[in-house]
């Protein structure tokens, strides 16, 4: 690789400054604040702050509500990441087969990405509202007792669907690019070697897409853990009960609604550790199986 040498020392820092400033202000500073607060306890009126060591962590980890939230998060994240990637891959493969109007279909597929999470959430909320939802009525006609306001599992299905729908576009874009990078002659060679289309997909296309898939796995995991706050907030608010209260949502609920700052800070520190560990795990163990072309 070519190294670019700048004539003096200041310019590189100047060019990096905007990005560094954003990272410092919006990541390191809040993260440091969270660490500080996670070892403090404030009284109900915010008049006195006491250092309590790891007491907040002990309390959080011993709380059955917190463990429920972990379970909810695992179910939610796995479902969202898997569905969003699987559906996007399916659609990308189908879109590749289209001869005419490829660009048109692709553009249509990418639109949902431009919709803000809260709006997307509202959209799904309206469509599936048990009393006036456009799609709730046919569900009831099919004999399904549809009421996500009362049924925790249905509420979960609804937020998973909304979060998935939002993320498909992004994944689709990357999968289409990934598919285009696979030389046609490889699939022709497979066809001549006797592979059916399905077999060629699983033995040639899918393994060669691995770099894209792996990248998306990391991105989707982070998305499901963090970026889905807006959707959950708009659709269920974590309810009914605590059926859709993910870890991020609980941080918000405990900190900004219930104003238990110490607990909330401890939770966000734990969350940070989980995400770092998860990403490290993905790079360490899954990336090894990835073939970079």
């Amino acid at each position: 690789m070519r190294r670019t040498v700048f004539p003096h020392k200041l310019l590189p820092w100047l060019l990096l400054a905007p990005q560094l400033a954003i990272t410092l202000i919006f990541f390191y500073w809040p993260a440091a604040q969270a660490f500080r607060q996670s070892v403090l306890r404030e009284d109900a009126f915010g008049l006195k702050t006491t250092f309590v060591g790891l007491a907040n962590f002990r309390k959080v980890l011993g709380d059955p509500n917190y463990l429920n939230s972990v379970r909810v998060t695992v179910v939610f994240s796995v479902l969202v990441a898997f569905c969003a990637m699987a559906i996007a891959l399916f659609l990308a493969v189908q879109a590749e087969k289209i001869v005419r109007g490829k660009g048109f279909y692709r553009t249509l597929m990418i639109w949902p990405y431009a919709v803000a999470p809260a709006i997307a959430g509202m959209l799904w909320l309206f469509m599936f509202n048990p009393s006036f939802g456009t799609l709730a009525w046919p569900l009831r006609q099919m004999g399904i007792y549809w009421n996500p306001l009362l049924d925790g599992e249905q509420a979960m299905a609804l937020v998973v669907a909304a979060a998935t729908w939002k993320q498909i576009s992004y994944n689709f874009l990357f999968f289409v690019a990934g598919l285009q990078a696979i030389p046609r002659s490889l699939l022709e060679a497979a066809a001549i070697d006797g592979a059916s289309r399905r077999h060629a997909f699983w033995t040639i296309t899918f393994p060669l897409l691995a770099p894209t898939t792996f990248f998306l796995l990391v991105v989707n995991t982070v998305y499901a853990l963090f970026d889905t706050f807006g959707i959950i907030h708009a659709v269920t608010g974590g309810g009914p009960g605590k059926a859709t209260e993910t870890l991020v949502y609980k941080v918000y609920n405990d900190g900004f609604v219930n104003l238990i700052m110490g607990d909330s800070a401890a939770q966000s520190v734990i969350l940070m550790i989980i995400v770092i560990a998860l990403t490290a795990f993905q790079f360490r163990f899954i990336e090894r199986r990835v073939h970079y072309g």
Binding site: E188, A191, I204, H291
Partner: protein, 354 residues
């Protein structure tokens, strides 16, 4: 092993015909080379046999079965691609075994066949490597191996040597020839390289603009080219071809010299073809072609003189002995070998028998 029959095979893209009806029979075990300049449709023809391109009209028959509507995998063929198309995520062994596994051959049989091909192609040390850890020549051999282990009815090769350097190309050419002698596989080979075509083929198809100009053995193509295009394409340096006007057994050359030519087929304007190697220095007093040399290329054993026919701007190439003392600016008189005259129609370029 099988016979391949092409019957008036045509290809059009959106109403635009690019292959204009090719008919040919390829015998069992025959090595046929499709040769032509780029864009002549030779790869398209091969891909139609492989089933990678739809056949617009006509039929392709492999082993007595019309395969027009069959998928590539149902045609019992193997193919070597120009870029080799090795599966990058599989080892050499897995690459070669891929088709056999799909065919659900017993494990022992797969191993035996891969081992045999690896021995033949000297690939044993590399069986567990990925393609990217191989050199160009090794990759090419893996591609060959992957095709051969399948023991297909027909082997198709699409410019398999054009990504190799010159020396390796010569080596692989010999290896391919040897392999064909050993396996007796019906083979269809596409190339733009006339040396590959001449050395490998039992028979050649010389293609130009989607038409098979000539289908014949290499020697026949060289000795009796069916058209001016074939005459100019096969042979190196290319045949000298120019217009002469013929009357009463004599031809008036560009520049005004008159040459008595035995076997002039008819009067009027004709295209006369003379290979550089069939021109010799004229004896004193003999009717000859006067040439003014513009440069001499010395290759050691031979030298090639590039000049113009005196009094015209028609170029002429001569083969000279390597020790020839001729140089730029010299004037030489050469006489054609009467046994190697080629005449072509001035309008359609077809050969006229003398």
């Amino acid at each position: 092993m099988a016979r391949i029959l092409l019957n008036d095979v045509r290809k059009s893209y959106a109403g635009n015909q690019v292959i204009h009806g090719i008919t040919m029979e390829i015998a069992d075990g025959e090595f046929v080379v499709i040769v032509g300049p780029s864009g002549c449709g030779k790869s398209t023809l091969l891909r139609m046999v492989a089933g990678l391109e739809a056949i617009s009209a006509g039929t392709v028959e492999i082993g007595g079965k019309v395969v027009n509507e069959l998928e590539p995998r149902q045609r019992d063929i193997a193919m070597v691609f120009q870029n080799y198309a090795l599966y990058p995520h599989m080892s050499v062994r897995e690459n070669m075994a891929y088709g056999l596994k799909i065919a659900k051959l017993p494990k022992a049989e797969i191993e035996a066949r891969v081992a045999k091909a690896a021995t033949m192609l000297e690939l044993e040390p590399y069986l567990d490597r990925k393609p990217r850890a191989l050199s160009g020549g090794q990759r090419q051999r893996v591609a060959m191996g992957r095709a051969l282990v399948r023991e297909p009815a027909a082997l198709l090769l699409d410019e398999p040597l054009s990504n190799l350097d010159a020396k390796l190309r010569v080596q692989m050419r010999l290896q391919i020839k040897e392999m064909h002698l050993r396996t007796g596989q019906t083979t269809l080979y596409v190339t733009h390289d006339q040396v590959e075509a001449m050395t490998l083929a039992d028979r050649l198809i010389v293609m130009n603009k989607g038409v098979a100009e000539q289908i014949a053995t290499p020697l026949e193509v060289y000795q009796r080219p069916a058209s001016e295009f074939v005459a100019g394409f096969i042979g190196s340096p290319a045949m000298n071809i120019f217009t002469v006007s013929a009357a009463e057994g004599r031809a008036t050359l560009p520049g005004g010299a008159v040459l008595p030519l035995p076997g002039l087929p008819r009067g009027g304007d004709l295209r006369l073809g003379l290979r550089p190697e069939h021109l010799r220095p004229a004896a004193p007093g003999e009717a000859a072609i006067p040439v003014v040399l513009r440069s001499v290329e010395r290759l050691g054993a031979d030298a090639f003189g590039y000049g113009m026919i005196e009094g015209s701007d028609v170029p002429l190439v001569l083969r000279l002995p390597g020790t020839s003392g001729l140089a730029r600016g010299d004037r030489v008189e050469v006489a054609p070998d009467p046994g190697h005259l080629h005449f072509f129609d001035a309008q359609d370029g077809r050969r006229i028998e003398g």
